[in-house]
Amino acid sequence: MKGAGQKLLVVLLAALLVTGCSSRSTRSDDAQGRATVEDRSMGQTGADADSGAQSSALPGGTDLSASALNDPASPLAVRIIYFDYDSANIRSDSSDTLAAHAAFLAANPTLSVTLEGHADERGSREYNLALGERRALAVRRQLVLLGASAGQVRSVSYGEERPAVDGHDDESYSLNRRVELVY
């Protein structure tokens, strides 16, 4: 969806954070004693990011072209890998999805993906942060094993801090134990 545009955004974001940092110290002296850092990349990546991705001419067959990311019928449209309770094992029902993403990354070496690892809300939060990372790293290993290069795959854990659904039942928990692939 975002593709190469994401890289530009990352650079842009880094720049914003740098300026944010430098303004923070000055702003902390303002009347209300607040420091403010803002960037507007999150959730507002729509049009620019998409056009950025599409304007990049990338090698690869039709199925694995960068625009395949925007095809709802492509196996690449599946971007969430689910896990069992207290487990980071890749389930067999995820192998095809991960194989497709690995082949896509291999065919598009300039693209990269961020793996966001998540846990359900049960148990302690910091342990769950580590569990989320373990899941993201398991997906990363699988993608690299299947052809992606290590430099294309970044992982980040949110633990139980960003649930996909708000419920407190087994169904919700199974939807929250996940790794999201974010291009």
Binding site: S28, G33, G43, G123
Partner: protein
């Protein structure tokens, strides 16, 4: 949209015997106060009547001091407080007490007092603790204060009454830090780091972010908080000065950067980092920035907490299969397992202030509860019985444990006496409240 804001809290200093750093109510903003509901009481509580304080001269009553003291003492679970409506009289001086009336009611102790205008502005709170059966005064104090500090002064009165009657220091004038989460729209939440009095009043937002905030932890002197913020699209450990609002990112990098825990000397933090490929405990020196790896195991090692003597830490590790608590010397060496024969899930240990017990998150068939482990005997007691209890934190006097529990509208704070007999909820009207951290004594 991504934003993060930190706030300075204005400081005022009380002028007299109880000189303290205080936070004014002016910056409370839209923060919602926590309301307290006592769920289970204690039968053996000590009967006490806190008589409404008289006002002298032109001292208007900006605050009902006796009501705050009464609520504090009731909240401890150690006292059965008499409502003012049931009192036979409302004496403000020792000579005005009719002891017979109170003895008939079985009231063992009285707290009486006055609020006076100080000549140079401000107030003086005068109070006495009286033994009804002996007919004598046990304690009397005059405490100078200001209008802005009256609530804190009331908590100090509670501390003094508690200590005089129970022989243990009171912790009513302490503060708690916690995280709130408010859903703004699907997929958009506002995370706040707040500080409030231990009774939930006077909340201040000291940081606001659209990205998750986690793991607030107090410096031993109460001047700073360390916490985890995701504002850089990954976990990073930050330090924030509570007086100036100034904040600094101290540890970031590849992998998770989490679970900060101050050493008792305030100079070092134990943290969990996975920069070397796997979550391990590191010691970070705040003065010189040195980072030393303490654990080395392919399992998850996280959630460090320092023993009060500063010589060892406990942490959570799943090296034995499921998460259990381990202890390691801060100079290194082999980690030894602490939790045995208490189920398959024990995590996020916190030492009691005397170092003899650990509060942990204990998982069993019924869910996740707060349990206390006695380190000498290895006995453990499950204190809470809801389905999703987490994040226990001891009061600095060891009498209570505050924790997070699932309420009807999301996560709420709750507190239990260390023996599990008294339970109470602290809830806001909207949003989630979680990860409470009980601050140190303020002195």
């Amino acid at each position: 949209m991504f934003s993060i804001r930190s706030r300075e809290i204005p400081r005022r200093v009380a002028r007299a015997a109880l000189a303290l750093v205080l936070f004014a109510a002016a910056t409370a903003g839209a923060a919602e106060e926590l309301t307290i509901r006592i769920e289970e009481g204690v039968a053996s509580a000590l009967p006490i009547a806190v008589v409404p304080f008289a006002t002298v001269g032109d001292a208007e009553t900006p605050l009902d001091i006796a009501a705050i003291v009464r609520a504090d003492l009731a909240r401890s679970g150690q006292f059965a407080t008499m409502p003012p409506e049931g009192m036979p009289s409302q004496p403000a001086t020792f000579s005005a007490i009719n002891f017979k009336d109170w003895r008939v009611l079985g009231m063992e102790n009285l707290v009486i007092g006055k609020l006076l205008r100080a000549p140079e502005g401000g107030y003086v709170v005068e109070f006495r603790v009286v033994d009804v059966y002996k007919g004598k005064q046990l304690m009397g104090y005059r405490v100078p204060t200001t209008a802005a500090n009256l609530r804190l002064t009331a908590h100090h009165v509670s501390d003094l009454v508690y200590e005089r009657l129970l022989g243990e220091r009171g912790a009513f004038s302490t503060r708690i830090a916690y995280i709130t989460v408010e859903k703004k729209a699907p997929g958009t939440s506002l995370y706040r780091l707040q500080i409030a009095d231990a009774d939930g009043y006077d909340p201040h937002t000291i940081l606001e972010s659209t990205q998750p905030l986690m793991s607030p932890t107090w410096a031993p002197d109460g001047s700073r908080l360390a916490y985890v913020s995701f504002e850089d699209r990954n976990s990073a450990i930050w330090l924030q000065d509570l007086r100036t609002g100034e904040r600094k990112k101290i540890i970031a990098g590849e992998g998770i950067n989490s679970a900060p825990a101050f050493a008792p000397d305030g100079q070092r933090l134990a943290v969990t980092l996975s920069r070397d490929g796997n979550p391990e405990i590191y010691l970070y020196h705040l003065g010189n920035g040195n980072l030393r790896r303490l654990t080395n195991h392919p399992a998850i090692d996280t959630e460090a907490n320092w023993a009060p003597d500063g010589r060892s830490i406990v942490f959570t590790s799943d090296r034995g299969g499921g998460p259990q608590i381990y202890r390691v010397d801060v100079d290194g060496g082999r980690a030894e397992r602490v939790t045995f024969n208490m189920g398959n899930y024990n995590a996020r240990a916190r030492y009691s202030p005397d170092g003899r017990r650990l509060a942990v998150v204990h998982g069993d068939k019924g869910g996740y509860h707060i349990a206390v482990v006695d380190l000498a005997s290895n006995d453990f007691q499950v204190l809470t019985n809801a389905r999703l209890d987490e994040s226990p934190s001891f009061a600095p006097n060891g009498s209570m444990i505050i924790y997070a529990t699932m309420g009807p509208g999301g996560t709420e704070l709750a507190a239990t006496s260390t023996d599990g007999r008294l339970k109470q909820r602290l809830a806001t009207q909207r949003g989630e409240v979680r990860e409470p951290a009980w601050g140190p004594f303020r002195d």
